[in-house]
Amino acid sequence: MSEQQPPATIEQFYKFCAEKKFMAVRCKRCGTLHLPPKPICRECYSNEMEWVELSGRGKIVTYTVIHVAPTQFVDMAPYAVAIVELDEGVKITGQVRDAKPEELKIGMEVVVDFEEAQGEGWPPWPRYFFKPAK
């Protein structure tokens, strides 16, 4: 008996972030791993998806340091943003914290961490972010 899966949605992904879990979904029909999650597999259109927890470890594929920020991020600038390829082979964008911009490089090993849920702001989703693996 398979247990009832939470919906394979973006909202559910961020709910898991609030529990400090970095999750993706796998299509039970064709096996494709999806990050971000999708309720319906874009390869085979099956809606049988199951949540799997990722290792949270990966490498920087590319990065930038934002100096001119959008309205909501002005107080945070400058900050680093990278695309990270997780060990499981899927990629996602996130901030890189706890590292000086000049320390960043392509191929650098990083690990995921989570902000506390904010409870306000728009939308009230806790952000995941990456930091140097060691």
Partner: protein, 391 residues
């Protein structure tokens, strides 16, 4: 059908790009349309033009949506139909595409296609926020990415793979400002030195202020018709002979290779095939240099050089008039300006002027075939157009 004219451009207009204080987008569109109408006395706009296709990206700038009836009202075109298209920075290329499809389908004989964007009335953080809406919200915007940031991540990847430097990028800015300084319709009509570009402050490392296109107000338009009707309106028609549209996944993390645009390569291949021409046949091109790195990648995606060679093509001066392939002789988005919704048909306007021999000091002698390359968002959309001078 290769090389066969799809539609004819019989006239074109461009409102001066720049900080057009005190003017609404619709008023700029009037300015562009008036130039187009004035240069084509055989065209009776109210009688001949059957529909309008207008591109605009963001309602936020002017708190104004429903762009079709807005611009049509100021042209006295009611009750003719007007359709708005949105494809981020390629919104007016989309307007031209839908207008062309409508003419080719037989629905209309003559249509007006163009675009507008009014941007300079907003603060830089607001503009940054509005433009960022063309990226993925939950996994890009929510993490503080910006448009300069997205192209910066492409630049980082490109520089890492091919050994390009910030100086290579700076050559694009120097060239495009050289031409902007010679274009009376450009936003920034000043030349800049390599030194000035390299010493400007970072916007999104490794991109600096002078690697970025401008926040600009503008409008542009063309009038198109069936090829066989062109001579009724003008002795100097320009034909669209190739068109390609393609797209990629919305987010950069969802793409395999960040040193190229799959959408642009696909669009270019379709356009070349339809036109029956090759990259070497192009006499002049306007490409989407929203950031300097985008122009270098465009050279490669359009086949003007091989992968990794774009950095050298610009550094060797091969994209000036007289070089292998003159690119962005208007000043490009970099110096002419980038009023996002107006950019696509603004590029068409400049190639049209080149092909009818009216580009003044920026003229490519004897230009017969021109190309435009227009990206939407972080190259999630791409359109390529190939134009040919009428015999």
């Amino acid at each position: 059908m290769s090389g066969k004219p799809l539609v004819a451009i019989v006239t074109a207009g461009l409102a001066k790009f720049g900080k057009r204080e005190g003017l609404y987008g619709r008023e700029l569109f009037q300015e562009a349309a008036k130039e187009a109408f004035d240069r084509c006395p055989n065209l009776d706009p109210k009688k001949d033009i059957e529909a309008t296709f207008v591109g605009m990206m963001a309602e936020g700038f002017e708190h104004q949506g429903h762009t079709g009836p807005t611009v049509n009202a100021w042209l006295g075109f009611a009750p003719k139909p007007a359709f708005r298209t949105e494809s981020a920075c390629a919104s007016s290329s989309a307007a031209l595409a839908f207008g062309m499809y409508a003419v080719m389908s037989g629905a209309y004989d003559v249509v007006l296609c163009g675009g507008i964007e009014k941007m300079t009335n907003r603060s830089t953080p607001e503009v940054t926020e509005f433009l960022a809406t063309a990226s993925d919200f939950p996994f890009e915007q929510w993490h503080g990415i910006t448009f300069p940031g997205l192209f910066a991540m492409m630049a980082t990847a490109y520089m890492h793979r091919y050994g390009a430097t910030e100086e290579h990028l700076a050559h694009v800015a120097v060239k495009n400002h050289y031409y902007g300084a010679r274009n009376p319709k450009a936003h920034m009509q000043i030349e800049v030195t390599l030194e000035k570009v390299l010493s400007s402050r970072y916007v999104a490392w490794p991109l600096k202020l002078f690697d970025c296109s401008l926040i600009t107000d503008g409008a542009s338009c063309v009038v198109i018709t069936r090829p066989e009707l062109a001579r009724k309106f003008t002795d100097t028609p320009v034909y669209i002979i190739g068109h390609g549209a393609a797209q990629d996944n919305i987010a950069l993390y969802d793409r395999d290779d960040l040193t190229t645009s799959r959408a642009a390569r696909e669009a270019a291949q379709k356009a070349y095939k339809m036109a029956g021409v090759e990259p070497k046949d192009i006499d002049v091109a306007e490409v989407h240099d929203c950031f300097t790195i985008a122009e270098i990648i465009a050279y490669e995606d359009l086949g003007f050089c091989g992968r990794g060679e774009g950095k050298d093509l610009v550094a060797e001066g091969q994209t000036y008039v007289g070089g292998k392939i003159p690119v962005n002789t208007s000043g490009g988005l970099k110096a002419k300006g980038h009023p996002v919704g107006a950019t696509g048909t603004g590029q068409i306007y400049d190639i049209y002027k080149q092909l009818i021999g009216e580009a003044g000091p920026r003229q490519v002698p004897g230009a017969e075939i021109g190309l435009t390359h227009n990206l939407g968002g972080s190259a999630a959309s791409a359109m390529v157009w190939i134009l040919k001078r009428g015999d």
